[in-house]
């Protein structure tokens, strides 16, 4: 075994055998923001075999305060987070097979990615996507690790299909977003604390030490000095639509009605085309520049500005329309560009 992993193999619950297991596992990480970038770094340092990172966003200045891996250069280049993470992770551990997927994680887009996945890590910023992950986890019998944070607060739960309750057992409905949306800001220790719990659970699952998996939901507040864990073994519901006897995986079959979404805590609307496109970003950029738009492009996206209105278009036709929370207005602006 490598000198690189010597301190980890010295830890007896991992050992040489556990390290060999880690080296052959595939983790799917959904989100490359605060929780995602940190989890990606620790999984890569630990030597996971393959890491697939899905993210729909690009690096902005306001991310640098709490999203590790990213640098000022990534902000300048408007690099997509998944690709920026991959670039930094390869410098940290060239033995890990890192795959970056720049897209919006939905029931439709995520399912093709999970064929040989051993663990799904949650680093999303909304409960809709988490419920999709929860259903995918149950349908394909893959464990997943919920993590979330806002302000100085964080929480985590490990979900092992067939053993623990699932997130749908606990929440039953998607909680009202407004209450917890990141209008209250966020400090890095809340991120770090959440990631400590998620990455510990990830290692246990990767080395298959199932007895060590935390059997409780944990929550904490780093500013108010609170830490609470609650047992969840009796929370499993026989009638749960995600993991119960008559499971229907409701979040995979739900009509994916809205093609636009206001991003939580940001003055930004995401607009998606009916079908993913494969845009020629270079040609689009040239055309728009000729039409009087200010355009800045990289291989993954084009940032377009006119009259103080800014929009970022990804290769798959998805756009982030900045400076508005009005979905209709965002759609109008989008159609003006992409017809």
């Amino acid at each position: 075994m490598h000198e690189r992993y010597s301190r980890q193999t010295l830890f007896s619950p991992i050992g040489e055998a556990g390290q060999a297991k880690i080296r052959h596992k595939h983790v799917l990480l959904i989100g490359a923001g605060a929780l995602g970038s940190a989890n990606a770094e620790y999984l890569t340092r630990a030597g996971v075999g393959r890491l697939t990172i899905v993210d729909r966003d690009y690096v902005e200045e306001s991310n640098l305060q709490r999203q590790q891996l990213y640098t000022e250069d990534d902000v300048q280049a408007k690099w997509p987070k998944a690709e920026a993470a991959k670039k930094h992770l390869q410098r940290i551990n060239s033995d890990v097979d890192i795959r970056a997927v720049v897209m919006d994680g939905t029931a439709v887009s995520l399912e093709p990615l999970i064929a040989d996945v051993d663990l799904i890590m949650d680093a999303t910023d909304n409960f809709e996507t988490r419920m999709v992950i929860n259903d995918l986890s149950q349908k394909h019998q893959i464990p997943w690790i919920y993590g979330a944070c806002v302000g100085s607060v964080g929480m985590s739960l490990t979900i092992v299909p067939g053993i623990t309750p699932c997130l749908n057992c606990l929440l039953r409905t998607i909680p009202i977003q407004g209450m917890t949306c990141d209008t209250g800001g966020i400090i890095s220790p809340a991120v770090t604390m959440t990631v400590a719990h998620q990455s510990a659970e990830a290692l246990k699952i990767l080395v298959e030490d199932w007895d060590a998996v935390r059997p409780s939901f944990v929550t904490f507040d780093m500013w108010r000095n609170q830490y609470q864990s609650m047992k969840i073994s009796r929370a499993k519901k026989k009638d749960c639509l995600s993991c119960g006897e008559q499971r229907t995986f409701p979040f995979l079959t739900l009509e994916n009605a809205t093609k636009t979404a206001v991003l939580c805590g940001r003055d930004t609307v995401q607009v998606r085309p009916p079908q993913p496109l494969k845009l020629n970003l270079q040609k689009l950029s040239d055309d728009l520049a000729n039409s009087g738009y200010t355009v800045k492009a990289n291989p993954f996206l084009a940032s377009i500005e006119q009259n103080g209105q800014r929009m970022v278009i990804f290769q798959d036709g998805r756009a982030l329309v900045h400076g508005t929370k009005d979905e209709a207005h965002a759609k109008t602006l989008y159609q003006r560009i992409l017809g």
């Binding site: 979330a148 806002v150 507040d221 609170q226």
Partner: protein, 77 residues
């Protein structure tokens, strides 16, 4: 007496993270209602509850001497 622990922003709503509620036997849902009516602690709908450090449903019974924690789920990441 039922001991009620308030986590995260719930603490700030009434300025302390622990209160004692005079009650004998009621459901978690009834306790939520009582906290709203008598303590001005609103917005506990959709908040997770634990009774004696074990996850509780709205109809879980709470008795004298129990500790109930209210934990608002968060979605950021």
């Amino acid at each position: 007496m039922i001991k009620v622990l308030l986590f995260a922003h719930l603490k700030d709503l009434i300025g302390k993270d622990e209160i004692e509620v005079n009650a004998d036997e009621l459901t978690v849902e009834q306790l939520r209602q009582k906290l709203s009516d008598e303590y001005g602690l609103h917005g506990l709908e959709g908040v997770m509850a634990a009774v004696n450090e074990e996850f509780a449903d709205p109809d879980t019974m709470v008795s004298n001497g129990d500790t109930v924690a209210f934990i608002p789920p968060v979605s950021g990441g």
